[in-house]
Subunit: 205 residues, 2 copies
Amino acid sequence: MNKDIPVFSLQRLPVYLNYLRGLSDDCDNNYISSGRIAKALGFGEVLVRKDLAYSGCAGRPKVGYPRLELIGALEEFLCVNARKTAVIIGAGGLGSALLSYGGFEHYGFQVPVAFDSDPAKIGTTISGKPVLDVKDLEKGCREAGAVLAIIAVPASAAHSVGEQLKAAGIKAILNFAPVQLNLGEEVKVINMDVAANLAVLSAMI
Amino acid sequence: MNKDIPVFSLQRLPVYLNYLRGLSDDCDNNYISSGRIAKALGFGEVLVRKDLAYSGCAGRPKVGYPRLELIGALEEFLCVNARKTAVIIGAGGLGSALLSYGGFEHYGFQVPVAFDSDPAKIGTTISGKPVLDVKDLEKGCREAGAVLAIIAVPASAAHSVGEQLKAAGIKAILNFAPVQLNLGEEVKVINMDVAANLAVLSAMI
């Protein structure tokens, strides 16, 4: 099942999807080979085939993958067609930017609300979306039908927020706070520490 | 050299650093074993040893790593002590949030300026930092002594901005635009597609 697929493989699937969606609809692109995909994206060809096998869409030998079918399979796999709700915790600079971000729609996400603890922010709206009191997090998540959350709070608050989200029934968290968040098997976490990734880049040059 | 270390290994090094920095200075933490680190972070112990070997700091059998020395070695490796300058391209919601973000200091980064193409933004300041005209990108990067950049522009502008950054002498880019940016061997890129990572999470639950 999806739960057993390494996250690094899963993280390449949207890359394939973006690439395939970006090709024009002319007949040269009806079928696309793993070699062509590999070359365009700078991946190994064997890796490409292994990744795309997860989607369930099979390629035809010497012809390649039927492009539109592969797009559909990847979208299905990434649950693009299921309307999913994510909430944001933290309405500071980053949280506000994410609340206003239009890119979530491409993957079928709605992000209708943010939560914060700052009285100056609670009750305001950002891009027409309300900022609610984090005290009402559990109730708010259930009412929104949310299964995903994005954490954009300071490091010191992240673990506590994570536990509250877990109690609220959230199953997956994208964490921007600069801490390694680990909430056990029931809650999947991807940590995106911006400053740490910049440090990694400077170690690479 | 650092350039040969897989980026996924490099991306774990700040995680170790954060963890080690977070421990108190009492004598129980003078030495820390790979087992203890592994357990705290949910990594395998062999992986921890392999990763920490990159830092050049050796552990003592049955005792562990000297914590402060290991912190120093990781900071050295991640160039924390070298003042490094990064610039931001795109002063929209995300770019503004990053320009105001205080977390870069923990890794020795200064982020003094952003660039944009919107006349309404050019010439303004965000958290006291100027927004300059992206037309002056090359000159601005050189004057700032920048070797790193963060891209926070729409997908349609990302490749063009990437090429301009490469021409400006930028060696590494953190890319938030939802495209796979590939600028050849001379420019290292880490792509952070927020919506795609949320999609990956929803595929995992």
